[in-house]
C-alpha cells in the first residue's frame, strides 16, 4: 500500500459513509495531478520522499476531511457570549450549593474543611461545565435553535441606565457577598438553635452576650442576601439601593459595637482547658467586633459617596 492510498484511507475514515467515496475519489485525482506536475517541474520521476512532501503540504488527513464537511463548533461564535454568561452563573450556583451544604453539615453536627469545600466546588464546577457545554454544543449545531438565544429578543429600553463604570455592580462582588451572607446566616442558626449538649466535639460556642444578638444579625443577613439577589438581577447602583445599603451597614456597625461591649462573647463547652484562656479569647473577639464595625462604617461611607455621585449624575 503506497503513501497515497494510506493517506486517502486515513481521510476516508474521517468522512461520513454517504460522501466518502465521492470525496476521496476526487481527492485522489487531485493528488495525482499535483504529483504529475511536481515531476514535470523537477524533470524526474516522483520518489516516496516527494510523495510524502506533497501529502504533508496538503495537510493532516483529519484536517483535510474536516475541510470538506460543514463547519461544526463545540460552541458557535453566535452562542459564545451567552455560553460564558451561563458558565459564570453556573459557577455561582455551584458555589452557593456548596456553602449551603457545608452549613447544613455543620448544623447536623458534621465536620467541614476548606479542602473538602474546595474539592467539592471543583468537582461540581467540572460537572456543571460539561453539562452546560453539552447543551450549547447541541444549540450551536442545530440551525432551528437560532431563535432560542435570549440575545434575539433584547430591547434597548432594558439596558441598565449606567453612565459611569462605578455604577455597575460586578457579578463577582454580588455573588461573593451573597455566598458570605448565606453562610453566616446558616452558621448563626447553628449556634442559635442547637443546644450545647448536642454539639459536636468543638470546645467553643457563643456566649450569652453574643447569643442575644444572633437574631438581629440573622435578620440583617437575610436583608443583605435579599439586596445581593436584587443586585444580581439589576447589576447597577440606584439611590434606593445605596440608601438601603447605607442603613444596613450603619445598623451592622452599631450591632457590632454593642456586641463588642457584651462581656460573654464566647463560652467553653464542658471541661476544656480553653477555659483558662477565656479572657484572651474574649479580648480577641472584642477586636474582631471592632474590626467588623470599622469595615461596616467604611462600606457605609463608600455607599454614601456613591450616593452623592449618583445624585450629581441625575442632576446633570
Amino acid at each position: 500500500m503506497n503513501l497515497i492510498d494510506r493517506y486517502i484511507s486515513a481521510v476516508a475514515q474521517q468522512l461520513p459513509a454517504s460522501r466518502r467515496d465521492d470525496i476521496t475519489r476526487e481527492l485522489k485525482a487531485n493528488i495525482l495531478d499535483r504529483l504529475e506536475s511536481f515531476a514535470e517541474e523537477h524533470g524526474r520521476p516522483i520518489t516516496p520522499a516527494d510523495e510524502s512532501a506533497v501529502l504533508r503540504e496538503l495537510g493532516h488527513p483529519r484536517q483535510v476531511a474536516a475541510s470538506f464537511l460543514p463547519q461544526r463548533h463545540l460552541v458557535s461564535p453566535a452562542w459564545f457570549p451567552f455560553f460564558t454568561q451561563c458558565l459564570a452563573v453556573g459557577l455561582l450556583i455551584v458555589f452557593v450549593i456548596q456553602i449551603l451544604a457545608a452549613g447544613l453539615t455543620l448544623m447536623s453536627g458534621g465536620n467541614i474543611s476548606i479542602g473538602g469545600l474546595l474539592g467539592g466546588w471543583i468537582h461540581g464546577s467540572l460537572i456543571m461545565f460539561a453539562c452546560v457545554t453539552g447543551v450549547f454544543c447541541v444549540l450551536s449545531n442545530l440551525s432551528a435553535t437560532q431563535n432560542l438565544s435570549p440575545y434575539c429578543h433584547w430591547r434597548p429600553e432594558d439596558l441598565p441606565p449606567v453612565k459611569q463604570p462605578w455604577q455597575r455592580i460586578s457579578l463577582f462582588d454580588s455573588s461573593m457577598q451573597l455566598v458570605g451572607n448565606l453562610f453566616f446566616l446558616v452558621a448563626m442558626q447553628y449556634f442559635f438553635w442547637v443546644e450545647r449538649a448536642t454539639m459536636p466535639a468543638a470546645p467553643l460556642t457563643v456566649g450569652v452576650g453574643l447569643k442575644s444578638w444572633l437574631m438581629y444579625l440573622s435578620a440583617t443577613a437575610v436583608i443583605a442576601a435579599g439586596i445581593n439577589l436584587w443586585n444580581l438581577r439589576h447589576a447597577y447602583w440606584t439611590t434606593t439601593k445605596l440608601g438601603l445599603s447605607i442603613a444596613l451597614r450603619v445598623i451592622l456597625g452599631i450591632i457590632f459595637i454593642l456586641i463588642a461591649q457584651t462581656p460573654d462573647k464566647l463560652a467553653v463547652i464542658g471541661e476544656s482547658q480553653l477555659a483558662n484562656y477565656m479572657g484572651i479569647l474574649n479580648t480577641l473577639a472584642f477586636w474582631i467586633c471592632i474590626g467588623a464595625t470599622g469595615v461596616n462604617f467604611f462600606e457605609a461611607s463608600r455607599s454614601a459617596y456613591r450616593l452623592i455621585l449618583t445624585k450629581k449624575l441625575e442632576r446633570d
Binding site: 476526487e26 487531485n30 484536517q63
Partner: protein, 109 residues
C-alpha cells in the same frame, strides 16, 4: 504594523473575493488542479486545502455542475458554472465593480 498582522489582513481581504475568482474561472470547465493553475497564472495563489473544499461547497450549493471525464489514463472531475452560478456571477461581478469604484474613490481622496 508587523508583517504577520499585515499578512492576516491581506488574507482576510482576499478571502471575500475568492468565490468571485473561482466562479469567474469556471466559465470554462476545469478540474481541481487545472483550476488552481489558472488562478495562479492570474496572480491568485490559493492553497489546495482551501480551493478544493470551496469548489465542492459551491457545487453543493448548485452554483457549479460537475462531471467525471476520463483523460490521459486518469479520471478527473470537471466543474463548470451552472445556470444559477452564471446568474449569480453576473450579480456578484456588478457588486464587485461597484465596490471597486467606490473604494477607489475613497482611496484617491
Amino acid at each position: 504594523m508587523s508583517e504577520e498582522h499585515l499578512e492576516k489582513l491581506r488574507q482576510e481581504l482576499r478571502r471575500g473575493v475568492l468565490v468571485l475568482a473561482v466562479l469567474g474561472s469556471l466559465k470554462q470547465p476545469h478540474y481541481g488542479y487545472s483550476l488552481r493553475k489558472q488562478l495562479q497564472e492570474a496572480g491568485i495563489d490559493i492553497d489546495e486545502g482551501t480551493l478544493y473544499p470551496l469548489v465542492r461547497r459551491l457545487a453543493d450549493q448548485g452554483l457549479l455542475d460537475s462531471e467525471w471525464h476520463q483523460g490521459d489514463g486518469r479520471e478527473r472531475r470537471y466543474y463548470q458554472l451552472s445556470l444559477i452560478g452564471t446568474s449569480l456571477l453576473a450579480s456578484l461581478s456588478s457588486e464587485w465593480q461597484a465596490l471597486n469604484t467606490n473604494i477607489a474613490k475613497l482611496l484617491e481622496a
